[in-house]
Protein backbone atom coordinates (compact mmCIF):
# COMPACT_ATOMS: atom_id res chain seq x y z
CA UNK A 1 0.00 0.00 0.00
CA UNK A 2 2.55 2.41 -1.16
CA UNK A 3 1.02 5.85 -0.89
CA UNK A 4 3.96 7.86 -2.08
CA UNK A 5 4.32 6.75 -5.65
CA UNK A 6 0.72 6.57 -6.80
CA UNK A 7 -1.77 9.35 -7.14
CA UNK A 8 -5.20 8.89 -5.53
CA UNK A 9 -6.97 8.06 -8.77
CA UNK A 10 -4.47 5.37 -9.66
CA UNK A 11 -4.60 3.97 -6.19
CA UNK A 12 -8.38 3.90 -6.19
CA UNK A 13 -8.44 2.22 -9.56
CA UNK A 14 -6.01 -0.42 -8.41
CA UNK A 15 -7.96 -1.13 -5.23
CA UNK A 16 -11.21 -1.29 -7.07
CA UNK A 17 -9.83 -3.72 -9.64
CA UNK A 18 -8.58 -5.90 -6.79
CA UNK A 19 -11.99 -5.98 -5.12
CA UNK A 20 -13.82 -6.42 -8.37
CA UNK A 21 -11.65 -9.37 -9.31
CA UNK A 22 -12.42 -11.08 -6.00
CA UNK A 23 -16.14 -10.41 -6.36
CA UNK A 24 -15.99 -11.82 -9.89
CA UNK A 25 -14.36 -14.97 -8.47
CA UNK A 26 -11.03 -14.23 -10.12
CA UNK A 27 -7.53 -13.98 -8.64
CA UNK A 28 -6.53 -10.34 -8.04
CA UNK A 29 -2.96 -9.00 -8.00
CA UNK A 30 -3.10 -9.26 -4.21
CA UNK A 31 -5.69 -10.46 -1.70
CA UNK A 32 -7.96 -7.45 -1.11
CA UNK A 33 -8.20 -6.28 2.46
CA UNK A 34 -11.23 -4.74 4.10
CA UNK A 35 -10.17 -2.65 7.09
CA UNK A 36 -11.51 -2.14 10.59
CA UNK A 37 -13.59 0.61 12.12
CA UNK A 38 -15.18 1.06 15.53
CA UNK A 39 -14.04 2.58 18.81
CA UNK A 40 -10.44 2.68 17.71
CA UNK A 41 -11.23 5.56 15.34
CA UNK A 42 -12.31 8.16 17.94
CA UNK A 43 -9.70 6.79 20.35
CA UNK A 44 -6.93 7.28 17.76
CA UNK A 45 -8.10 10.84 17.12
CA UNK A 46 -8.27 11.56 20.84
CA UNK A 47 -11.97 12.37 20.89
CA UNK A 48 -14.76 10.77 22.88
CA UNK A 49 -17.41 8.47 21.48
CA UNK A 50 -19.90 11.20 22.26
CA UNK A 51 -18.03 13.61 20.02
CA UNK A 52 -17.64 10.96 17.35
CA UNK A 53 -21.39 10.36 17.34
CA UNK A 54 -22.72 13.88 17.69
CA UNK A 55 -20.11 16.23 16.26
CA UNK A 56 -19.91 15.57 12.53
CA UNK A 57 -16.98 17.87 12.04
CA UNK A 58 -14.83 16.04 14.57
CA UNK A 59 -16.03 12.66 13.34
CA UNK A 60 -15.07 13.46 9.76
CA UNK A 61 -11.58 14.50 10.81
CA UNK A 62 -11.18 11.40 12.95
CA UNK A 63 -12.22 9.14 10.07
CA UNK A 64 -9.89 10.87 7.68
CA UNK A 65 -6.96 10.57 10.05
CA UNK A 66 -7.58 6.89 10.60
CA UNK A 67 -8.09 6.11 6.92
CA UNK A 68 -4.87 7.90 6.11
CA UNK A 69 -2.71 6.21 8.72
CA UNK A 70 -4.17 2.70 8.45
CA UNK A 71 -4.79 2.13 4.76
CA UNK A 72 -6.76 -0.77 3.34
CA UNK A 73 -8.43 -1.57 0.04
CA UNK A 74 -11.96 -1.13 1.23
CA UNK A 75 -12.84 0.86 4.37
CA UNK A 76 -16.23 -0.80 4.66
CA UNK A 77 -16.36 -0.58 8.46
CA UNK A 78 -14.97 2.92 8.77
CA UNK A 79 -17.73 5.37 7.92
CA UNK A 80 -19.98 7.96 9.49
CA UNK A 81 -21.33 6.26 12.53
CA UNK A 82 -24.87 5.13 13.21
CA UNK A 83 -26.74 1.99 14.20
CA UNK A 84 -28.99 -0.23 12.16
CA UNK A 85 -32.23 1.65 11.53
CA UNK A 86 -34.03 -0.88 9.37
CA UNK A 87 -37.30 -0.42 11.16
CA UNK A 88 -37.35 3.09 9.72
CA UNK A 89 -36.52 1.71 6.29
CA UNK A 90 -39.61 -0.48 6.60
CA UNK A 91 -41.69 2.44 7.80
CA UNK A 92 -40.59 4.64 4.88
CA UNK A 93 -40.45 1.89 2.26
CA UNK A 94 -43.13 3.57 0.17
CA UNK A 95 -40.99 6.67 -0.28
CA UNK A 96 -37.68 5.69 -1.90
CA UNK A 97 -35.93 8.98 -1.11
CA UNK A 98 -36.64 8.52 2.59
CA UNK A 99 -36.06 4.76 2.65
CA UNK A 100 -32.64 5.53 1.27
CA UNK A 101 -31.79 7.78 4.20
CA UNK A 102 -32.92 5.56 7.02
CA UNK A 103 -30.47 2.64 6.99
CA UNK A 104 -28.65 4.10 9.95
CA UNK A 105 -29.88 5.85 13.03
CA UNK A 106 -27.25 8.35 14.12
CA UNK A 107 -26.87 9.91 17.55
CA UNK A 108 -28.80 13.05 16.54
CA UNK A 109 -31.60 10.94 15.02
CA UNK A 110 -31.84 8.93 18.22
CA UNK A 111 -32.06 12.12 20.20
CA UNK A 112 -34.82 13.38 17.94
CA UNK A 113 -36.85 10.17 18.11
CA UNK A 114 -36.32 9.48 21.79
CA UNK A 115 -36.52 5.82 20.89
CA UNK A 116 -36.02 2.81 23.13
CA UNK A 117 -34.06 0.79 20.57
CA UNK A 118 -30.69 2.45 21.07
CA UNK A 119 -28.36 3.92 23.68
CA UNK A 120 -25.89 6.60 22.71
CA UNK A 121 -22.74 7.82 24.45
CA UNK A 122 -23.30 10.85 26.61
CA UNK A 123 -27.04 10.17 26.67
CA UNK A 124 -27.95 6.81 28.14
CA UNK A 125 -24.37 5.61 28.49
CA UNK A 126 -20.91 6.83 29.28
CA UNK A 127 -19.35 9.44 26.98
CA UNK A 128 -16.84 6.88 25.87
CA UNK A 129 -19.05 3.84 25.44
CA UNK A 130 -19.79 2.77 21.89
CA UNK A 131 -23.36 3.32 20.72
CA UNK A 132 -25.56 0.36 21.49
CA UNK A 133 -28.52 -1.29 19.93
CA UNK A 134 -30.79 -2.86 22.54
CA UNK A 135 -33.74 -4.08 20.51
CA UNK A 136 -36.72 -5.15 22.54
CA UNK A 137 -40.30 -6.35 22.42
CA UNK A 138 -42.67 -3.84 20.88
CA UNK A 139 -45.30 -6.17 19.52
CA UNK A 140 -47.53 -8.82 21.09
CA UNK A 141 -48.16 -12.22 19.52
CA UNK A 142 -51.81 -11.41 18.80
CA UNK A 143 -50.67 -8.59 16.54
CA UNK A 144 -49.12 -10.80 13.87
CA UNK A 145 -52.31 -10.44 11.83
CA UNK A 146 -51.96 -6.66 11.79
CA UNK A 147 -48.38 -6.97 10.68
CA UNK A 148 -49.32 -9.41 7.92
CA UNK A 149 -52.22 -7.25 6.77
CA UNK A 150 -50.24 -4.02 6.36
CA UNK A 151 -46.58 -4.15 7.44
CA UNK A 152 -45.79 -0.53 6.61
CA UNK A 153 -48.89 0.87 8.28
CA UNK A 154 -48.47 -1.30 11.33
CA UNK A 155 -44.83 -0.33 11.81
CA UNK A 156 -45.41 3.35 11.13
CA UNK A 157 -48.62 3.83 13.06
CA UNK A 158 -48.39 1.29 15.87
CA UNK A 159 -44.79 0.22 16.46
CA UNK A 160 -42.89 3.48 16.06
CA UNK A 161 -45.13 5.44 18.45
CA UNK A 162 -44.59 2.66 20.99
CA UNK A 163 -40.86 2.57 20.50
CA UNK A 164 -40.23 6.32 20.30
CA UNK A 165 -41.15 8.57 23.19
CA UNK A 166 -41.12 11.64 20.96
CA UNK A 167 -43.89 10.26 18.78
CA UNK A 168 -46.38 10.00 21.62
CA UNK A 169 -48.84 12.64 20.48
CA UNK A 170 -49.59 13.86 16.93
CA UNK A 171 -48.25 17.26 17.92
CA UNK A 172 -44.95 15.77 19.05
CA UNK A 173 -44.87 13.44 16.09
CA UNK A 174 -45.02 16.25 13.58
CA UNK A 175 -42.11 18.19 15.04
CA UNK A 176 -40.16 14.98 15.51
CA UNK A 177 -40.55 14.03 11.88
CA UNK A 178 -39.50 17.46 10.65
CA UNK A 179 -36.42 17.30 12.83
CA UNK A 180 -35.68 13.77 11.70
CA UNK A 181 -35.66 14.98 8.11
CA UNK A 182 -33.08 17.58 9.05
CA UNK A 183 -31.00 14.94 10.78
CA UNK A 184 -31.14 12.77 7.66
CA UNK A 185 -29.76 15.65 5.58
CA UNK A 186 -26.92 16.35 7.96
CA UNK A 187 -25.97 12.71 8.20
CA UNK A 188 -25.77 12.34 4.43
CA UNK A 189 -23.95 15.61 3.97
CA UNK A 190 -21.35 14.27 6.38
CA UNK A 191 -21.22 10.90 4.63
CA UNK A 192 -20.61 12.73 1.35
CA UNK A 193 -17.74 14.68 2.89
CA UNK A 194 -16.14 11.52 4.18
CA UNK A 195 -16.62 10.03 0.74
CA UNK A 196 -14.75 12.94 -0.80
CA UNK A 197 -11.94 12.72 1.71
CA UNK A 198 -11.67 8.97 1.04
CA UNK A 199 -11.39 9.60 -2.67
CA UNK A 200 -8.53 12.00 -1.95
CA UNK A 201 -6.84 9.21 -0.07
CA UNK A 202 -7.21 6.82 -2.98
CA UNK A 203 -10.16 4.79 -1.83
CA UNK A 204 -12.55 3.53 -4.50
CA UNK A 205 -16.12 4.70 -4.32
CA UNK A 206 -18.41 1.74 -4.02
CA UNK A 207 -22.04 2.61 -3.38
CA UNK A 208 -23.63 0.23 -0.91
CA UNK A 209 -27.31 -0.12 -0.17
CA UNK A 210 -29.02 -2.31 2.33
CA UNK A 211 -31.55 -5.06 2.81
CA UNK A 212 -32.48 -7.38 5.65
CA UNK A 213 -33.64 -10.92 6.31
CA UNK A 214 -37.38 -10.60 6.91
CA UNK A 215 -37.33 -12.73 10.07
CA UNK A 216 -34.62 -10.47 11.52
CA UNK A 217 -36.91 -7.45 11.27
CA UNK A 218 -39.26 -9.33 13.57
CA UNK A 219 -36.46 -10.44 15.89
CA UNK A 220 -34.54 -7.19 16.13
CA UNK A 221 -37.30 -4.60 16.08
CA UNK A 222 -40.70 -6.13 16.77
CA UNK A 223 -40.85 -9.20 18.98
CA UNK A 224 -37.30 -9.39 20.35
CA UNK A 225 -34.86 -12.20 19.64
CA UNK A 226 -35.94 -14.81 22.20
CA UNK A 227 -39.64 -14.28 21.62
CA UNK A 228 -39.19 -14.64 17.89
CA UNK A 229 -37.37 -17.95 18.27
CA UNK A 230 -40.12 -19.20 20.59
CA UNK A 231 -42.83 -17.87 18.25
CA UNK A 232 -41.53 -20.20 15.53
CA UNK A 233 -42.90 -23.08 17.62
CA UNK A 234 -45.86 -21.30 19.12
CA UNK A 235 -47.28 -19.50 16.08
CA UNK A 236 -45.44 -20.97 13.08
CA UNK A 237 -48.01 -20.07 10.43
CA UNK A 238 -48.33 -16.48 11.53
CA UNK A 239 -44.58 -15.95 11.66
CA UNK A 240 -44.17 -17.41 8.21
CA UNK A 241 -46.90 -15.21 6.75
CA UNK A 242 -45.37 -12.19 8.45
CA UNK A 243 -41.95 -12.86 6.89
CA UNK A 244 -43.65 -13.14 3.51
CA UNK A 245 -45.46 -9.85 3.99
CA UNK A 246 -42.20 -8.16 5.01
CA UNK A 247 -40.30 -9.51 2.01
CA UNK A 248 -42.08 -7.26 -0.41
CA UNK A 249 -41.47 -4.22 1.78
CA UNK A 250 -37.79 -4.99 2.23
CA UNK A 251 -37.31 -5.44 -1.50
CA UNK A 252 -39.02 -2.12 -2.05
CA UNK A 253 -36.71 -0.21 0.25
CA UNK A 254 -33.63 -2.07 -0.95
CA UNK A 255 -34.39 -1.09 -4.54
CA UNK A 256 -34.51 2.55 -3.51
CA UNK A 257 -30.71 2.38 -3.52
CA UNK A 258 -30.68 2.02 -7.28
CA UNK A 259 -31.03 5.79 -7.30
CA UNK A 260 -27.50 6.16 -5.88
CA UNK A 261 -26.09 3.47 -8.15
CA UNK A 262 -25.69 0.90 -5.39
CA UNK A 263 -23.63 -2.08 -6.50
CA UNK A 264 -24.00 -4.04 -3.30
CA UNK A 265 -26.69 -4.47 -0.65
CA UNK A 266 -25.39 -5.12 2.85
CA UNK A 267 -27.45 -7.72 4.70
CA UNK A 268 -26.31 -8.59 8.24
CA UNK A 269 -27.95 -11.78 9.56
CA UNK A 270 -28.91 -12.30 13.17
CA UNK A 271 -31.11 -15.33 13.69
CA UNK A 272 -29.19 -17.64 11.35
CA UNK A 273 -27.04 -19.07 14.13
CA UNK A 274 -30.00 -19.71 16.38
CA UNK A 275 -31.94 -21.89 13.98
CA UNK A 276 -31.70 -25.59 13.28
CA UNK A 277 -31.36 -26.35 9.56
CA UNK A 278 -35.02 -27.34 9.56
CA UNK A 279 -36.21 -24.04 11.03
CA UNK A 280 -33.72 -22.10 8.92
CA UNK A 281 -35.00 -23.64 5.71
CA UNK A 282 -38.58 -23.13 6.68
CA UNK A 283 -38.69 -19.66 8.22
CA UNK A 284 -35.53 -17.80 7.37
CA UNK A 285 -33.93 -18.77 4.12
CA UNK A 286 -36.84 -18.75 1.62
CA UNK A 287 -37.64 -15.08 2.11
CA UNK A 288 -33.98 -14.03 2.44
CA UNK A 289 -33.26 -15.90 -0.77
CA UNK A 290 -36.10 -14.09 -2.49
CA UNK A 291 -34.65 -10.75 -1.41
CA UNK A 292 -31.17 -11.67 -2.71
CA UNK A 293 -32.48 -13.02 -6.03
CA UNK A 294 -34.76 -10.08 -6.71
CA UNK A 295 -31.97 -7.59 -6.04
CA UNK A 296 -29.63 -9.57 -8.28
CA UNK A 297 -32.17 -9.37 -11.09
CA UNK A 298 -32.12 -5.62 -10.64
CA UNK A 299 -28.34 -5.47 -10.83
CA UNK A 300 -27.51 -5.32 -7.13
CA UNK A 301 -25.32 -8.03 -5.67
CA UNK A 302 -25.62 -8.83 -1.99
CA UNK A 303 -22.99 -8.63 0.73
CA UNK A 304 -24.39 -11.00 3.29
CA UNK A 305 -22.79 -10.98 6.74
CA UNK A 306 -23.36 -14.47 8.14
CA UNK A 307 -22.91 -13.66 11.83
CA UNK A 308 -22.00 -16.34 14.32
CA UNK A 309 -21.57 -19.92 13.19
CA UNK A 310 -23.14 -20.52 9.82
CA UNK A 311 -21.65 -23.99 9.20
CA UNK A 312 -24.96 -25.87 9.47
CA UNK A 313 -26.49 -23.81 6.67
CA UNK A 314 -23.54 -23.38 4.30
CA UNK A 315 -24.91 -25.63 1.59
CA UNK A 316 -28.00 -23.47 1.15
CA UNK A 317 -25.79 -20.72 -0.28
CA UNK A 318 -25.18 -22.98 -3.27
CA UNK A 319 -28.85 -22.58 -4.18
CA UNK A 320 -27.99 -19.04 -5.32
CA UNK A 321 -26.64 -18.49 -8.84
CA UNK A 322 -22.87 -18.32 -9.23
CA UNK A 323 -21.48 -14.84 -8.62
CA UNK A 324 -24.51 -13.69 -6.63
CA UNK A 325 -22.38 -11.61 -4.29
CA UNK A 326 -20.15 -11.78 -1.23
CA UNK A 327 -20.47 -14.23 1.66
CA UNK A 328 -18.92 -12.51 4.67
CA UNK A 329 -18.34 -14.86 7.59
CA UNK A 330 -17.80 -14.12 11.23
CA UNK A 331 -17.12 -17.32 13.19
CA UNK A 332 -17.48 -19.78 10.34
CA UNK A 333 -14.09 -21.13 9.29
CA UNK A 334 -13.41 -19.34 5.99
CA UNK A 335 -11.07 -22.08 4.79
CA UNK A 336 -13.87 -24.63 5.01
CA UNK A 337 -16.39 -22.18 3.63
CA UNK A 338 -14.17 -21.46 0.66
CA UNK A 339 -13.82 -25.16 -0.10
CA UNK A 340 -17.58 -25.48 -0.30
CA UNK A 341 -18.23 -22.18 -2.06
CA UNK A 342 -15.25 -21.89 -4.41
CA UNK A 343 -16.07 -20.81 -7.94
CA UNK A 344 -19.53 -19.93 -6.69
CA UNK A 345 -19.41 -17.22 -4.03
CA UNK A 346 -16.83 -14.62 -3.14
CA UNK A 347 -15.79 -15.38 0.46
CA UNK A 348 -14.91 -12.62 2.92
CA UNK A 349 -13.65 -12.66 6.52
CA UNK A 350 -10.88 -14.71 8.10
CA UNK A 351 -9.33 -12.40 10.67
CA UNK A 352 -10.56 -12.98 14.24
CA UNK A 353 -10.92 -9.60 15.90
CA UNK A 354 -9.69 -11.18 19.13
CA UNK A 355 -6.36 -11.86 17.42
CA UNK A 356 -6.07 -8.22 16.46
CA UNK A 357 -6.77 -7.18 20.04
CA UNK A 358 -4.92 -9.88 21.94
CA UNK A 359 -2.25 -11.00 19.49
CA UNK A 360 1.21 -9.62 18.75
CA UNK A 361 2.71 -8.38 15.46
CA UNK A 362 4.51 -11.72 15.18
CA UNK A 363 1.44 -13.86 15.79
CA UNK A 364 -0.57 -11.78 13.31
CA UNK A 365 2.13 -12.13 10.66
CA UNK A 366 2.21 -15.88 11.21
CA UNK A 367 -1.57 -16.13 11.11
CA UNK A 368 -1.95 -14.20 7.85
CA UNK A 369 0.82 -16.23 6.23
CA UNK A 370 -0.91 -19.51 7.07
CA UNK A 371 -4.36 -18.25 6.18
CA UNK A 372 -3.32 -16.91 2.79
CA UNK A 373 -1.58 -20.16 1.87
CA UNK A 374 -4.98 -21.76 2.11
CA UNK A 375 -7.38 -19.14 0.78
CA UNK A 376 -5.35 -17.21 -1.78
CA UNK A 377 -5.14 -19.77 -4.57
CA UNK A 378 -7.99 -19.36 -7.02
CA UNK A 379 -8.94 -15.88 -5.80
CA UNK A 380 -12.50 -14.98 -4.88
CA UNK A 381 -11.43 -14.06 -1.36
CA UNK A 382 -11.45 -10.77 0.59
CA UNK A 383 -9.68 -10.54 3.92
CA UNK A 384 -11.81 -8.83 6.57
CA UNK A 385 -11.98 -8.75 10.35
CA UNK A 386 -14.56 -11.16 11.80
CA UNK A 387 -16.19 -8.08 13.27
CA UNK A 388 -15.58 -4.62 11.87
CA UNK A 389 -15.55 -2.80 15.18
CA UNK A 390 -12.11 -2.73 16.76
CA UNK A 391 -12.15 -1.70 20.43
CA UNK A 392 -10.26 1.33 21.66
CA UNK A 393 -7.47 -0.72 23.19
CA UNK A 394 -6.57 -2.45 19.93
CA UNK A 395 -2.77 -2.14 19.80
CA UNK A 396 -1.85 0.13 16.90
CA UNK A 397 1.26 -1.91 16.17
CA UNK A 398 -1.04 -4.87 15.51
CA UNK A 399 -2.96 -2.89 12.91
CA UNK A 400 0.28 -1.93 11.22
CA UNK A 401 1.55 -5.50 11.39
CA UNK A 402 -1.66 -6.65 9.75
CA UNK A 403 -1.30 -4.18 6.88
CA UNK A 404 2.29 -5.26 6.34
CA UNK A 405 1.44 -8.94 6.46
CA UNK A 406 -1.27 -8.49 3.82
CA UNK A 407 1.23 -6.71 1.60
CA UNK A 408 3.85 -9.41 2.19
CA UNK A 409 1.79 -12.55 1.74
CA UNK A 410 -1.17 -11.33 -0.28
Amino acid sequence: MDMTTKNPQELAKERRARLQAAINLEEPDRVPFCGVGGDIIPAYAGITQKEFNFDYDKAEKALEKFLKDFPCDWPFAAGVTGLDGRILSVAFAEYPDLALSSTFVSGPMHKTLGDKYYRFPGMETDENASPQFLGGTFMEPDEYDDLIEDPVGFVLETILPRACTNLDTPRQAMTTMVRLGMDFSQFYASAAKVGMASAQLGYPSLAIGGAYAPLDIIGDFLRGISNTVLDLRRYPDKVKKATEALTEVIIKYALAFKAIGAELAFIPLHLNEYLSPKLYKEFYWPTLKEVILTLLDEGIKSLVFFEGHHEPHLETILELPKGWGIAYFEKTDVVKAKEILKDHSCVMGGLPITLLVGGTPASIDEYIKNLFEKVKPGGGFILAPSVGTAPRETPLENLTALIEAVEKYG
Binding site: S130, S226, L232, K331, I353, T354, V357, G358
Partner: protein, 209 residues
Protein backbone atom coordinates in the same frame (compact mmCIF):
# COMPACT_ATOMS: atom_id res chain seq x y z
CA UNK B 1 -45.04 -40.45 33.86
CA UNK B 2 -41.28 -40.04 34.20
CA UNK B 3 -40.34 -41.38 30.83
CA UNK B 4 -43.21 -39.64 29.10
CA UNK B 5 -42.32 -36.28 30.62
CA UNK B 6 -38.64 -36.80 29.90
CA UNK B 7 -39.43 -37.48 26.24
CA UNK B 8 -41.81 -34.57 25.94
CA UNK B 9 -39.18 -32.16 27.22
CA UNK B 10 -36.43 -33.57 25.04
CA UNK B 11 -38.79 -33.47 22.04
CA UNK B 12 -39.57 -29.80 22.74
CA UNK B 13 -43.26 -30.30 23.41
CA UNK B 14 -43.70 -27.16 25.49
CA UNK B 15 -47.42 -27.28 26.13
CA UNK B 16 -47.53 -31.05 26.60
CA UNK B 17 -44.65 -31.23 29.05
CA UNK B 18 -45.87 -28.35 31.24
CA UNK B 19 -49.35 -29.85 31.34
CA UNK B 20 -48.04 -33.27 32.24
CA UNK B 21 -45.79 -31.89 35.00
CA UNK B 22 -48.71 -29.97 36.50
CA UNK B 23 -50.98 -33.00 36.39
CA UNK B 24 -48.31 -35.09 38.05
CA UNK B 25 -47.94 -32.66 40.95
CA UNK B 26 -51.70 -32.12 41.25
CA UNK B 27 -52.07 -35.88 41.53
CA UNK B 28 -49.74 -35.89 44.52
CA UNK B 29 -46.52 -36.55 42.62
CA UNK B 30 -43.11 -36.04 44.18
CA UNK B 31 -41.59 -32.64 43.37
CA UNK B 32 -38.05 -33.91 43.94
CA UNK B 33 -38.56 -36.68 41.41
CA UNK B 34 -40.03 -34.22 38.96
CA UNK B 35 -36.99 -31.99 39.35
CA UNK B 36 -34.70 -34.92 38.65
CA UNK B 37 -36.57 -35.85 35.48
CA UNK B 38 -36.35 -32.28 34.23
CA UNK B 39 -32.66 -32.13 35.03
CA UNK B 40 -31.99 -35.35 33.17
CA UNK B 41 -33.92 -34.06 30.19
CA UNK B 42 -31.92 -30.82 30.17
CA UNK B 43 -28.71 -32.84 30.32
CA UNK B 44 -29.75 -34.75 27.21
CA UNK B 45 -30.72 -31.53 25.40
CA UNK B 46 -27.25 -30.19 26.18
CA UNK B 47 -25.64 -33.38 24.89
CA UNK B 48 -27.64 -33.21 21.70
CA UNK B 49 -26.53 -29.61 21.26
CA UNK B 50 -22.89 -30.56 21.65
CA UNK B 51 -23.33 -33.36 19.12
CA UNK B 52 -24.82 -30.92 16.63
CA UNK B 53 -28.26 -32.54 16.66
CA UNK B 54 -29.81 -29.61 18.45
CA UNK B 55 -29.32 -25.89 17.91
CA UNK B 56 -29.76 -22.67 19.86
CA UNK B 57 -33.46 -22.70 19.00
CA UNK B 58 -33.77 -25.93 21.01
CA UNK B 59 -31.55 -24.72 23.86
CA UNK B 60 -33.68 -21.61 24.17
CA UNK B 61 -36.95 -23.51 24.18
CA UNK B 62 -35.52 -26.18 26.49
CA UNK B 63 -34.50 -23.48 28.95
CA UNK B 64 -37.94 -21.93 28.67
CA UNK B 65 -39.71 -25.24 29.38
CA UNK B 66 -37.42 -25.93 32.33
CA UNK B 67 -38.03 -22.51 33.87
CA UNK B 68 -41.79 -22.78 33.38
CA UNK B 69 -41.91 -26.14 35.17
CA UNK B 70 -39.58 -24.97 37.93
CA UNK B 71 -41.79 -21.99 38.61
CA UNK B 72 -44.44 -24.24 40.16
CA UNK B 73 -42.12 -27.05 41.26
CA UNK B 74 -39.44 -25.25 43.27
CA UNK B 75 -41.86 -23.73 45.82
CA UNK B 76 -42.86 -27.28 46.75
CA UNK B 77 -39.31 -28.22 47.64
CA UNK B 78 -37.66 -27.40 50.95
CA UNK B 79 -34.40 -25.44 50.80
CA UNK B 80 -32.28 -28.23 52.16
CA UNK B 81 -33.82 -30.82 49.86
CA UNK B 82 -32.18 -29.48 46.77
CA UNK B 83 -28.65 -30.73 46.61
CA UNK B 84 -26.29 -28.04 45.32
CA UNK B 85 -23.07 -28.70 43.50
CA UNK B 86 -21.91 -25.16 44.09
CA UNK B 87 -22.80 -21.53 43.82
CA UNK B 88 -22.20 -19.30 40.80
CA UNK B 89 -22.37 -15.52 40.58
CA UNK B 90 -23.22 -14.85 36.94
CA UNK B 91 -23.48 -11.66 34.93
CA UNK B 92 -22.86 -10.10 31.52
CA UNK B 93 -19.92 -7.73 31.78
CA UNK B 94 -19.82 -3.96 31.63
CA UNK B 95 -20.80 -2.33 28.33
CA UNK B 96 -22.40 -5.53 27.06
CA UNK B 97 -26.16 -6.02 27.10
CA UNK B 98 -26.48 -9.44 25.44
CA UNK B 99 -28.43 -11.58 27.87
CA UNK B 100 -29.78 -14.55 25.92
CA UNK B 101 -26.64 -16.68 26.07
CA UNK B 102 -26.20 -15.94 29.76
CA UNK B 103 -29.81 -16.91 30.45
CA UNK B 104 -29.49 -20.17 28.53
CA UNK B 105 -26.29 -21.05 30.37
CA UNK B 106 -28.03 -20.21 33.63
CA UNK B 107 -30.95 -22.54 32.89
CA UNK B 108 -28.62 -25.40 32.03
CA UNK B 109 -26.19 -24.95 34.88
CA UNK B 110 -29.09 -24.68 37.32
CA UNK B 111 -30.58 -27.80 35.86
CA UNK B 112 -27.25 -29.50 36.44
CA UNK B 113 -27.53 -28.69 40.15
CA UNK B 114 -25.75 -25.38 40.66
CA UNK B 115 -27.23 -22.42 42.46
CA UNK B 116 -26.98 -19.27 40.36
CA UNK B 117 -27.05 -15.68 41.53
CA UNK B 118 -27.83 -13.72 38.37
CA UNK B 119 -26.63 -10.12 38.61
CA UNK B 120 -27.86 -9.03 35.18
CA UNK B 121 -26.25 -7.37 32.18
CA UNK B 122 -23.88 -4.43 31.71
CA UNK B 123 -22.55 -5.23 35.17
CA UNK B 124 -19.75 -2.90 36.35
CA UNK B 125 -16.71 -4.30 38.16
CA UNK B 126 -17.85 -2.98 41.54
CA UNK B 127 -21.07 -4.87 41.29
CA UNK B 128 -19.23 -8.15 40.69
CA UNK B 129 -17.06 -7.39 43.71
CA UNK B 130 -20.08 -6.66 45.89
CA UNK B 131 -21.89 -9.78 44.74
CA UNK B 132 -18.87 -11.96 45.46
CA UNK B 133 -18.51 -10.45 48.93
CA UNK B 134 -22.17 -11.02 49.64
CA UNK B 135 -22.74 -14.46 48.14
CA UNK B 136 -19.32 -16.11 48.49
CA UNK B 137 -19.64 -18.16 45.33
CA UNK B 138 -17.52 -21.11 44.23
CA UNK B 139 -17.46 -19.79 40.71
CA UNK B 140 -17.75 -16.38 39.09
CA UNK B 141 -19.22 -16.58 35.60
CA UNK B 142 -18.88 -13.72 33.15
CA UNK B 143 -20.74 -13.62 29.88
CA UNK B 144 -19.30 -11.48 27.08
CA UNK B 145 -20.35 -11.17 23.45
CA UNK B 146 -18.60 -8.05 22.31
CA UNK B 147 -14.94 -7.31 21.87
CA UNK B 148 -15.24 -4.20 24.01
CA UNK B 149 -16.21 -6.57 26.85
CA UNK B 150 -12.76 -8.13 26.91
CA UNK B 151 -11.30 -5.24 28.87
CA UNK B 152 -14.36 -5.26 31.11
CA UNK B 153 -13.57 -8.87 32.01
CA UNK B 154 -9.94 -8.08 32.59
CA UNK B 155 -10.87 -5.14 34.82
CA UNK B 156 -13.36 -7.25 36.74
CA UNK B 157 -10.79 -9.96 37.41
CA UNK B 158 -8.37 -7.30 38.62
CA UNK B 159 -11.00 -5.61 40.77
CA UNK B 160 -11.79 -8.94 42.44
CA UNK B 161 -8.10 -9.46 43.13
CA UNK B 162 -7.65 -5.96 44.46
CA UNK B 163 -10.55 -6.46 46.83
CA UNK B 164 -8.61 -9.42 48.19
CA UNK B 165 -11.25 -11.88 47.07
CA UNK B 166 -10.16 -15.38 46.15
CA UNK B 167 -11.24 -18.98 46.78
CA UNK B 168 -13.36 -19.11 43.68
CA UNK B 169 -12.79 -19.99 40.06
CA UNK B 170 -13.53 -17.73 37.15
CA UNK B 171 -15.21 -18.96 34.01
CA UNK B 172 -15.99 -16.79 31.03
CA UNK B 173 -18.46 -17.57 28.28
CA UNK B 174 -20.25 -16.14 25.30
CA UNK B 175 -19.87 -16.23 21.57
CA UNK B 176 -16.72 -14.14 21.36
CA UNK B 177 -14.46 -15.71 23.97
CA UNK B 178 -11.63 -18.06 23.17
CA UNK B 179 -8.27 -19.17 24.59
CA UNK B 180 -6.75 -15.81 23.64
CA UNK B 181 -9.43 -13.91 25.53
CA UNK B 182 -9.21 -16.24 28.52
CA UNK B 183 -5.50 -15.53 28.86
CA UNK B 184 -6.00 -11.82 28.37
CA UNK B 185 -8.75 -11.63 30.97
CA UNK B 186 -7.03 -13.89 33.46
CA UNK B 187 -9.85 -16.41 33.77
CA UNK B 188 -9.59 -20.11 34.65
CA UNK B 189 -11.78 -21.50 31.90
CA UNK B 190 -13.82 -20.46 28.89
CA UNK B 191 -16.75 -21.89 26.98
CA UNK B 192 -18.69 -20.75 23.98
CA UNK B 193 -21.48 -23.21 24.48
CA UNK B 194 -23.66 -23.87 27.49
CA UNK B 195 -23.15 -27.63 27.64
CA UNK B 196 -19.39 -27.30 27.67
CA UNK B 197 -19.72 -24.52 30.24
CA UNK B 198 -21.64 -26.82 32.55
CA UNK B 199 -19.05 -29.54 32.13
CA UNK B 200 -16.23 -27.10 32.90
CA UNK B 201 -17.97 -25.80 36.01
CA UNK B 202 -18.11 -29.33 37.33
CA UNK B 203 -14.47 -29.88 36.43
CA UNK B 204 -13.40 -26.64 38.10
CA UNK B 205 -14.95 -27.80 41.35
CA UNK B 206 -13.82 -31.37 40.87
CA UNK B 207 -17.32 -32.83 41.02
CA UNK B 208 -18.38 -35.86 39.01
CA UNK B 209 -20.40 -35.11 35.88
Amino acid sequence: MHEELFNKIVDMDEEGSIKLAKEYLDGGGDAQKLLNVCRDAMGVIGDKFEKGEYFLSELLLGGEIFSSIMEFTLPLLKEGDIAKLGKIVLGTVKDDIHNIGKDIFKAFVEAAGFEVVDIGVDVPEEKFVEAVKEHKPDIVGMSCLITAGISSMKNTVEALKEAGLKDFKIIIGGGRVDEEVKELAGADAWADDAARGVRLCKELLGVEG
